[in-house]
């Protein structure tokens, strides 16, 4: 029972990160109808920058802030410089360009930082403290929950309570009508990418210290998990992404806990395939199938 509880909390902590990363994918999907396969590589790139800054300044928190800001800029840049010029008449084009970006980013990171794992320190202890005699949660887990919770709350407020959020939603749903109503649709798209990439960077900063550390491919497995989470949630739904993330986190935790860690990556892929085959609109779909 203690083991089950431990795995549950561990799964929720991982799941929170997947939720954030899935949220980033959903943000771009909603804004641009593109699955940003470069999200993982972009997050790693900003994490490298963040740890360089943290090393230079001696402050993890300055590095953390830099990661988020770099995410904003990188996301805006990718939309402005690359994605805007992709012909979206076929959904495959965006995918191919994103995969190309992955190769470029990983290649450049390898050239600058090398292709070996670099240690990435966590800002809080990852040792679990005891609750009711069972070691369940670490300070770091609490930090993860807090950070992801803050992201969810802030995004919710942005989209439901602010004029900019209303503009962003309208621009995504009905670009021509929005333009006629005075919404700068291109700018909203850039903002969507920027926000998504910043959330992705934040998720990267949260997850990298819990895995093997910094590496150009450090986010590949996380990407697949988060993508599965986003698909599970319907790809269109922020709430779905969060729930999907938690579900995937829990499943992975139970599987690696009871069956062994090596099975986990296979299990994610299997889950992704099952979801795509059986519930392509996600577990919580209520309306029509999505179209690209």
């Amino acid at each position: 029972m203690d083991r089950f509880l431990f795995l549950t909390f561990d799964g929720l902590s991982r799941g929170a990160v997947y939720a954030a990363f899935a949220l980033a994918l959903v943000l771009i999907w909603r804004a641009a109808r593109i699955v940003n396969f470069a999200q993982g590589a972009m997050a790693v790139a900003t994490a490298y920058v963040a740890y360089s800054v943290a090393d230079a300044t001696g402050s993890y928190w300055i590095g953390f802030l830099v990661a988020v800001v770099a995410g904003l800029l990188l996301g805006a840049g990718v939309e402005r410089v690359v994605m805007r010029f992709v012909d979206h008449s076929s959904p495959l084009n965006g995918v191919v360009v994103a995969l190309g970006l992955v190769l470029i980013i990983q290649g450049v990171l390898g050239m600058i930082y090398g292709n070996e794992f670099r240690p990435a320190a966590a800002p809080f202890s990852r040792d679990a403290f005891e609750i009711g005699g069972v070691a369940l949660l670490s300070r770091y887990d609490l930090f993860v929950f807090g950070a992801v919770g803050a992201v969810v709350v802030l995004l919710t407020l942005l989209f439901t309570r602010t004029p900019t959020g209303l503009r962003m939603r309208a621009a995504a749903f009905a670009p021509d009508v929005s333009r006629l109503l005075g919404v700068p649709v291109g700018g909203m798209l850039t903002l969507g990418w920027a926000l998504a990439a910043a959330v992705g960077s934040l998720a990267g900063m949260l997850v990298i210290p819990t895995e093997l550390g910094l590496h150009p491919t450090a986010m590949d497995i996380v990407f697949i998990s988060a993508f599965t989470a986003a698909v599970l949630g319907g790809l269109d739904s922020p709430i779905g992404a969060v729930l999907g993330g938690l579900i995937v986190g829990l499943l992975l935790s139970y599987i690696s806990g009871y069956l062994g860690a090596t099975v986990a990556p296979m299990a994610v892929l299997a889950l992704l395939v099952v979801v795509l085959l059986s519930r392509p609109d996600g577990l919580f779909a209520r309306s029509k199938a999505r179209t690209a």
Binding site: L166, R169, F173, A174, L180, L181
Partner: protein, 234 residues
């Protein structure tokens, strides 16, 4: 006094071959101009070219002597033009209230929506419903209400009667007349429903195959049996 909208020699279309040929028209402040014509005549194309959704190939469009073709689509509302596209353009994923807010969002401070709700009490009742939950008539009210929330001087209205019961159409036409009389709103009213449109319009323009084939005072178009037979088919 200069016209509010002045179009001269407008030629526009979707590919190389133009749909609209050499279209000229003017709309004065406080005037309702009906653009009539069969399905496919180019009425919607005209409105889309005016609002910049469609690039023009030749001609001049000016709004009070300002070159409208140089103004970006998303800046149009700031210059007092609201375009209600065909098929109404309600953002179906947003609530009634959100759609209306969107209309006035560019204004600082943002206008109260109460006048719109007074105009369309039905919308007030459906405030929190999403667009896809509305009936055709409600969507049309919402699209018009949203355009009015931007407080335009010129309303480009594309087939407001499409799919509506005659009674609802009559209400909308009465509203246009009232707005013109009270606020000096000018309307370029695209309609296939000739009788309804001419019941409120000051001028009528008939488009056929992308060309203006006749234009007259609305009263003349209605009264002159020969004109009616020749161009309007009734």
């Amino acid at each position: 006094m200069s016209a509010l909208l002045e179009v001269e020699g407008l030629t526009a279309g979707y590919g190389a071959a133009p749909v609209l040929h050499d279209v000229s028209l003017t709309v004065q402040p406080g005037e309702i101009v009906a653009v009539l014509g069969a399905n496919g005549a180019g009425k919607s194309t005209l409105l889309r070219a005016l609002s910049g959704l469609l690039p023009i190939q030749k001609g001049r469009i000016s709004l009070e002597d300002r070159d409208l073709t140089k103004i970006k689509v998303e800046h149009l509302v700031r210059h007092g033009i609201a375009h209600v596209p065909e098929g109404r353009g309600v953002v179906t994923e947003l609530t009634v209230e959100e759609n209306l807010r969107l209309g006035g969002l560019w204004r600082k401070p943002q206008p109260s929506l109460e006048p719109i709700y007074e105009l369309f009490p039905r919308l007030a009742e459906r405030r929190t419903n999403e667009g896809h939950q509305l009936s055709g008539g409600e969507r049309q009210m919402l699209a018009i209400g949203r355009a009015l929330a931007a407080q335009p001087r010129l309303l480009l209205l594309d087939e407001p009667s499409l799919g509506l019961a005659p009674k609802v159409t009559a209400q909308i036409m009465a509203l246009l007349r009232d707005l013109r009389d009270r606020t000096g709103l000018a309307v370029l009213l695209v309609e296939q429903n000739v009788r309804s449109a001419l019941s409120v319009a000051d001028q009528g323009i008939v488009l056929s195959l992308g060309r203006i084939v006749t234009r007259h005072d609305a009263a003349t178009l209605v009264d002159d049996a020969e004109l009616r037979h020749a161009y309007l088919g009734f």
